[in-house]
Symmetry: C3
Amino acid sequence: MRHLIEKVRKQQPLIHNITNQVVMNFTANGLYAVGAAPVMAHAKEEVEEMAQMASSLVLNIGTLTKEQIDAMILAGKAANQAGVPVVLDPVGVGATTFRTNSAKRILKEVNVTCIRGNAGEIANLAGVETEVRGVDGSSDTDIQQLANLAFKTLQVPLVITGEEDVVIDRDTRVSVSNGHPLLTKVTGTGCLLSAVIAAFLAVSDNVVEAATDALSYYGVAAENAADQQGFPGSFQIAFLDQLSEVDGETVNKKKQLTRSS
Amino acid sequence: MRHLIEKVRKQQPLIHNITNQVVMNFTANGLYAVGAAPVMAHAKEEVEEMAQMASSLVLNIGTLTKEQIDAMILAGKAANQAGVPVVLDPVGVGATTFRTNSAKRILKEVNVTCIRGNAGEIANLAGVETEVRGVDGSSDTDIQQLANLAFKTLQVPLVITGEEDVVIDRDTRVSVSNGHPLLTKVTGTGCLLSAVIAAFLAVSDNVVEAATDALSYYGVAAENAADQQGFPGSFQIAFLDQLSEVDGETVNKKKQLTRSS
Amino acid sequence: MRHLIEKVRKQQPLIHNITNQVVMNFTANGLYAVGAAPVMAHAKEEVEEMAQMASSLVLNIGTLTKEQIDAMILAGKAANQAGVPVVLDPVGVGATTFRTNSAKRILKEVNVTCIRGNAGEIANLAGVETEVRGVDGSSDTDIQQLANLAFKTLQVPLVITGEEDVVIDRDTRVSVSNGHPLLTKVTGTGCLLSAVIAAFLAVSDNVVEAATDALSYYGVAAENAADQQGFPGSFQIAFLDQLSEVDGETVNKKKQLTRSS
């Protein structure tokens, strides 16, 4: 089967990002490299109009304010009305009460298509942090257990990223083992991944398929970049290059997936 | 005649940017590479003071808010009083009502020295979108026609960028054919160009000359960078290097201009 | 004695940045390269909680607003209560009244561990600008004199950066001569340095030692990067790489310090 990256590049979906100030530039450049078209807009006066003309919407709370969360909810509801997929990136949930409550407020008011976070963020969002041990230095079993528990609570398709990434929906669970540790040394690689997942959701109604293809594509690009550059500054640039260069055939060859149900 | 880039590098004008959050870093680094000095400030409490000490002011509505537009108008009026040139970059005008109205509000309250946008933005700003066909996959004729119609309505010198760039003022029209498609794969290259035009306006009272020299310099730097790097991550870095490296003599040799009146 | 960079890399301190929008991405990537962990958060609802869980707090007024200064003061007071070191970067003080007053307000309400700025900023903050001549094209003597006068007024450990950097506390004054002029061609290198000093303060109670080690490490990384790349785009990337690569032994060999008391 053809990898969805080819479809993204053909359709060039417009991705509306309400995201944090740290990663805006990297996210926009990353989406261009993927073959999508980024737009950033967060004023309450325009987010509904922008979200409804977009192919996907990303809500990322990395540098949240009260006003921004209000705008996210306006945008999210407008996206829901228009059938535009919504990805939530609950950056730093658990670190402060305001973050946790804001993410939960979004989930309550907006129908989110998919949540992308690391194990700690997902555990905190689902309120299962006390039931899962060793989230940080977590074993594979822990991540699978966390995925099951968190999905049970949140009832939203989840992408939990770490050394191994897990995609979970009602009937499917896929693990993706591609990627490289240097991704953790560049700020915004998680945030950009959420935007890339949004781009893949714009070209496929199957959330698990879209997220899995986004993960394998993203991971293989990182592996290729790490083959070329071993330090974080140069790696960041090589990674943007690879996001642009790597094709679906290469990703299909190198992808490492494990499906269970 | 010596290219104005030499004068910019000698005078190192201070460029006050009220710009969008996506491109702030790239704009500041780009202006440093050009040889100018960037300053970013958007609080209503200080924008007037900052604009009046600057050599040029850039108003870019890419991630506008109501408060930011208010600050832009304060800064713009202060710049007008002090004789500081003002460049407007109407990012995304036409995409939402709020953007279109905000750009028009700025034009009504501030005397803008020059507007820089792509064909779609300029057409929407001038309200001539229905009269020009094929703006996106536009032919040269369309762009020239758009320039004439938009200038007639707006009565402000315009820089319309695309495959071919057009500078238009009351009595002059210049087309610049330098540049490279990779510029469209890096976020903020249009926004940085607006800031670079502002830097050139700081060293010349002739708007058409300043904009034309800014365009040829910028385009040649992009061509040189694309000779070195073919992917967007590396191209972005090579482009910053070339903005710093390319000299006026080289630009004069490589520039491709067509003048009409 | 082992250089403190080794301790920073071992402890990976969490640095809470309330900083300007121009440098957020570069600061985060720089802190990762150093071996620290960045977090950016500026909402008044969460800054106290975040500051108290951090190892250090950075207050940088580069793109200040009234709301952001309020948040900085909340965060600063919370940091003070929790014994978390606070670095103030008074970007652009002297350029506008709002900047100068805001920095002074922070100093009045928050116990700042260390201030990092260039000669002009420190002189303006201390109100000694009329007593020091030639701050911009300043001689070594001027900088030393400025350091003495400014410390006398401000009574806070100071790091004054320029061609030669000076660290001054009650009983000690150290000059550091490492670094490279290309640092002045990349936006945010001063701001990142303030964050790096914050990371070093997180692993040492001795402010002069922490700041001096941060300066020598930062300067040697810049020298190494400039050996590899001569233009600002590529230099920026090489510098991030060197922040990650350079070790304490190398810094100890190359550092150029002059102590006086």
